[in-house]
Each structure stands twice: as C-alpha cells, then as structure tokens.
Symmetry: C2
Subunit: 302 residues, 2 copies
Amino acid sequence: MSILVVGSVAFDSVETPFGKAEDILGGSATYFSTAASYFSDVNLVAVVGEDFPEEHIFFLKSKGVNLNGLQRVSGRTFRWKGRYDFNLNEAHTLATHLNVFEKFTPQIPDEYKNLPYIFLANIDPDLQWNVLEQVKKPKLVACDTMNFWITGKRESLIKLLSRVNLFVINEGEARQLAMEPNLVRAARKIMSYGPKIIIIKRGEYGALMFNGSSIFSAPAYPLESIFDPTGAGDTFAGGLIGYLANTDYLEEDNIRQAIVFGSVMASFNVEDFSLNRMKTLSLNEINERYKEFKQLTHFEDI
Amino acid sequence: MSILVVGSVAFDSVETPFGKAEDILGGSATYFSTAASYFSDVNLVAVVGEDFPEEHIFFLKSKGVNLNGLQRVSGRTFRWKGRYDFNLNEAHTLATHLNVFEKFTPQIPDEYKNLPYIFLANIDPDLQWNVLEQVKKPKLVACDTMNFWITGKRESLIKLLSRVNLFVINEGEARQLAMEPNLVRAARKIMSYGPKIIIIKRGEYGALMFNGSSIFSAPAYPLESIFDPTGAGDTFAGGLIGYLANTDYLEEDNIRQAIVFGSVMASFNVEDFSLNRMKTLSLNEINERYKEFKQLTHFEDI
C-alpha cells in the first residue's frame, strides 16, 4: 500500500562533536520519505524555495518518492541550524528560518487523496488537521509533533489526536502533553485523546509502544559512533510506517516488527551527516541489522 | 552455590513525591542479600551499631541470610538521607552519617573464605581489595562502585578491577570512569581494566551487558507507580548474582537470564519503601514477571 507524507523539506546546518556541515538536505518529510521508500511507495507533500537544487530532487526521485505534491515557490527554502553536545539526545536550536514554510498550506493533489497510509510529520497541528480534511477514508493516520506545538497549540493538537490512530512522540514531550511524569500513565492519558497506538521515542534508549493494554519495549542499537542524530525520529517513523504500509497488517506482532525496522533505519541514519548513509544503504544491510536487533534482545524462556 | 556479600547495612530516610519515611532498613548489602536470597544461600559481612533492632535481624534471617559475618559494634548504625523528585532516576543526598561504618574493616569469617560467588557492594575500593585478599579462589568476583570512589579513589578502583570478573555500574558512572561519552566505547575501555563482563544499569531504561564482543539490551519493566527507587541497583545485582550462583553456569545465555531476574527483582522492590515489598514477594510472582519481561520484549524473526 502507498503512503502520503506531509511535512518539511529543508536545509540543515549541523554541528556535532564530530564535525559540522552547512546547508545539507534535511526536513521531516525528507527523512521520513527516504526511510519509508525502502518498504513502500511514498507520496510527498511539502514546499521548497527557488534555491532547492536539482541534486536533492534527483536523490528523492532515485528512492522512488513521488514529488508531484512538492510545491516550489519563490523565496528561500526552510532552514534549521542546530548543535549537539556529547549528549546527542538533545539538539540545541541555533536558528530557524521558516522562509517559504511560513505561508505553507498543504495542497493534497487529487492523485494522493485516496492513499491509505498517512503520516503527518511535525508541523502546525492546524495544518495537520487541514490535511485530514482533504483526504478520503485513510486506513491509518499516524502523526508526530513537538514541544513547540504542545505549548503553543495544545487545543488544536488534542483535537487533531481524536482523528489519529498512531501517535509517535518523544519521551519528554509525552510527559509534557499528558502533564504526567510517569510514562505509563502519560501514555494512557494520551490514548484517551484518541490514538489507539502510542509510540514513545527515547533516543539512545529505544522506543516504547502502548497498544491497548499491551506494552512493547524496543531497544536502540548500541552504536560506537553516532555522527549526526538529526532526523533520527523521522527516519524511525519512515521505517515504521513504511513496513506497515508494505505488509498492510495492523496487528500487534506486525507493529512490533515495524518498530524494529524503524529502529534499524534510525540506527543507520545517525551514522553519517544528513541522509548520506541512505545513499548507499541496501535492503540486505537492513535485514542483517534487524537480525542483530533480535540477537541484542534475545533471552531464553524459563 | 553460595554467595559472600560485603557492603553496608544502614538506616535510610527517604522522601519521594509519593511520601516519606524515616530510619527505614536500607544499605547495599541488605538490598543485595534479600534479593539474592530468593535464588541462593547468602552470607553477609557488614557492620551495624547498638541501635540496630532485632526486628531487622529477624527479617534477614527469615530470608535465610547468614549473619555470622555481621559485626555489631558500639555506636550508631550508618545513616543515609535522600530525596527524589519526579525524576526518580536521580537521588539527591541530603545527609550521610557514616557512624560505625567509618572504621569498618571487613573481617571475613573462616566459614566464608571458600565461598565461590562474591559480590563487593559499593564501598571503598581499598576495602573491596581487602576482601579479595582474605578469600580463596572465588569462581566469580562481581563488584559495584559509585562516582564518589571514581573521583576520590580512581587508582585503587582500577587496580581492583583487574581482579573483578563482572562489574555492575551506572551509566553516568561508566562514562565518568572511562572518560568517554559513548557508552559502547566506555564499556570496552572498562573491560581493558580487567572485567570480562560489564553490566551497565540505566534505571528506568533497563540494562546493557557487554560480554566479550556480545551486547545484550535488557528493558526495565514499565511501572505505573514507582514508590521508592532506593536500593534498585543492589536489588538488581542480588537477583543477577543470586541466579548465577543458583545455576552455577557463566555462559552468555545464562547471564542474560540472570540479568532479567535482576531486573524483575528491582521492578518489585521500587513498588514500596525500603524492603517492604520483599516481605510478601513470592517466587511465583517473580516467575510470572519474568514471563511478562519476555512478552514485553518479544518480536518475531524475519
């Protein structure tokens, strides 16, 4: 099955303890689409400016991403600048230039309106709602958000969640949204807003899924060198939703496997700046690392 | 097989967001022994003052802990006072009164000197070394430490580690000891000091074991209410070493199971103040929770 993703396509400037890079390809929809493209057809809606080079278009097309929904308007592309210290779990935003993103309103092309799997990447919850108004009977609506919207657009976000089936959120943001320090109780509270499935991202500690009364704890892959954590969450979501769309099966066991594929994709992506690792990554490497995740967590029954 | 544990027996005063308690039973050797007693014979070496009540002696004896190595001397028992905020991973020490612990030198009774499994709970690394000088050919030497000794007795600790087979340490302390922010590289560096097996405790995120080139990621049990995290690390070590001594088998698969039993014991202990939960905990409950850990982490092969 095919996926519709709505989010940002951007230029990032990133500093880590291991190096720095200027104006590299980034954005939530970019990371998501690239990761998901390994498993499923992906159709992207976003906006870029006149400065967005053909090279990046070519890269996304080479991954099979449908760019008919990528608007190109006059002005400069969205830019984010951030720095990571040795604690790579936390990004320090140095600058955000919305540029063409400031007036972005998602226009869903007619050819996308019947897509069954939808991922609303981290943008204004009112725009996320607007996307749902344009599509017809999706099978799965998944979404992400961030602290900025939890603080600034709390009511819009909670209203949106009533139409969301699967919600991906950072640990600290889950606590913030639920106003509850205990993560299990926070997840249950967020479930009461609508989503049946809550997936809590914990960076280098992996992910926790709450699905009805069941809980799944997925590890992160212990990496000896994490080069650039930017986009890890969107890459995780791309692997997750990509695998679900590919298998088109939304039962617990399959979602667990999808979460591990999401973790696999994120573990590769942080090995290099931007989406550079995705340029060479093969399906065979993905399957091998999935098996390593299995080995990493396995213990015998009693 | 039987275990020798050397550490502290203490009174704790603890404040959490959920309540407070004064002068309750605590200490690393107490938590360790009680958890280990579910799996194996435990022989304790520690010191208490004249104020240590029969009630606590009775409790430890009821768990089958051999107290022939518990010195009772004049003065007051070691006291610790701490507070936890909503972030229950971090204890704020409000007061430490060493009292009789200040002049404590472990005296290993002759009947303990041939014990095959040894746990050196968190005390001065020179005293831990002193214990190893008194025992004969142990099969497994395990130890714990804390930031205080890493800072103040770094050389003693590194010297000690050359005689340690299994080292249990907190995540932040592993980074501090290795002077290396990446956890995988920190573990490899600590291994170079001696221990073949490094188990890194990550609080509510579980544990990571490094055993030669193999890595095992164990989850923590997602609890809806954590009442008092004091002693979680020692309780974890008690379940771990207790199970290893019980099975007397030090291969990877068995150590993985032992880590899960350690995590099970810690997950119960934090459900109430002090060792209160251990007063009613049954082997059947332990085995049931082990199965829940299995369910929590299970995902299918591809």
